[in-house]
Symmetry: C2
Subunit: 225 residues, 2 copies
């Protein structure tokens, strides 16, 4: 995935043009792929009865499609099959503490993907998409757990959104007021990094005492960022 997209550029559309803080915007397709690969929670925006609705859900990507788990969206999709959605993935990397409140900010990486999603109906693509979702959150889990049967597949709503139209924003580095008059205030300034980590696996009580430890692919999550 990284190889094929390393030199590609995202097209700039009216929706994805960076209007402010231009230095934070990227049209690098590889940056989009990296942001999507670094998480599995997205916020899916749909318009329902004229108002926006932002729903947290899980996603997976195979580099061409963004697969999104979504029944709220699929409900509105059935009502408005040609409607555009916006899927946003955000990673917070740190608090930027400046000398002045005005210069405070957040280091982050975010991607906003726009498009008209497809409701995935083909059982084979649905399985492939669910594999993406499952593996993105827990690599190795697709081969470990019992896969969906026909009935479960039918009960799962999966959307596929093209990655063609996306806006990427990244902020890194320290505060910006280290060379202005506020530097004279003598205040501490810098970044407090943030990261999301996995803790120790907690076995389902139904496993009972003396249950086997988690398999290596699950144990390996702990401490992973």
């Amino acid at each position: 995935m990284e190889n094929s997209s390393a030199s590609r550029t995202l097209p700039v559309t009216d929706r994805t043009r960076h209007r402010r803080l231009r230095d934070q915007g990227s049209t690098d397709r590889a940056a989009l792929d990296a942001i999507l690969a670094a998480g599995f929670l997205c916020h899916l925006g749909v318009v329902v009865d004229g108002h926006p609705m932002v729903v947290p859900t899980v996603y997976g990507s195979d580099g061409r499609w963004l697969y999104v788990h979504g029944s709220v969206a699929s409900r509105s999709l059935v009502a408005a099959p040609e409607a555009t959605v916006c899927v946003t993935v955000t990673h917070m990397d740190g608090l930027v503490l400046a000398r002045s409140v005005f210069e405070h900010g957040v280091n982050y990486r975010s991607a906003m993907v726009y498009g008209v999603p497809r409701l995935v109906t083909d059982p084979e693509e649905k399985l492939a998409g669910l594999r993406c979702l499952t593996e993105q959150a827990t690599p190795g889990q697709w081969d470990y757990a019992r896969r969906p049967n026909r009935k479960e597949l039918a009960a799962t709503a999966l959307l596929a959104l093209s990655l063609e139209e996306a806006s990427v924003k990244i902020r890194t580095g320290g505060p910006d007021d280290g060379d202005g008059p506020d530097a004279e205030l003598g205040l501490w300034a810098g970044v407090v990094p943030m990261t999301t980590v996995f803790g120790e696996p907690e076995p389902d009580p139904a496993l009972g005492d003396g249950a086997a430890p988690p398999p290596p692919h699950i144990a390996a999550l702990s401490g992973r960022r």
Copy 2:
């Protein structure tokens, strides 16, 4: 804040009624306040030219208003002053790994707040709102850093959204397939907890060598969840 809202119930509207996974929905106002107090990143959904746009931004709350930093939203607000927005705050607490892929899920707490926001113009309320935002991310920082001057205040777009209409969803606990036929598969199942942590403060290189250590309120962030 907790005291005044502990026994209050959120009204159920057409937008906030929980249609599925009802056991995960809460109409407890204190649950809303707790979710909002536990973070400072939100996803703000607006409708721009008929399509949804989901923008990550920071917020703060005083228990009555949700103050949101937002210039994209304020741009669309000027264009459509009576338009509803949806602000969603999500905390991911763990991966729920079941025996079957179908039963996989995420432990999370999320709040979706709906309403027509006000663009805050009164300088005094703007200061109070920015204080909320600043203190929510870094308690103690408002009294430490230089506060916004008149020019900076004018350059800051702040929205105030009432907390009256909100939908709260919470999932906790282990996987649900411990008592069905899949329990016979002998697979490990459980929860892998997730949490967002602060790391060690990284001083701005502009502070130079031999800079003083961060003040206690910043040092205290490290390891905080």
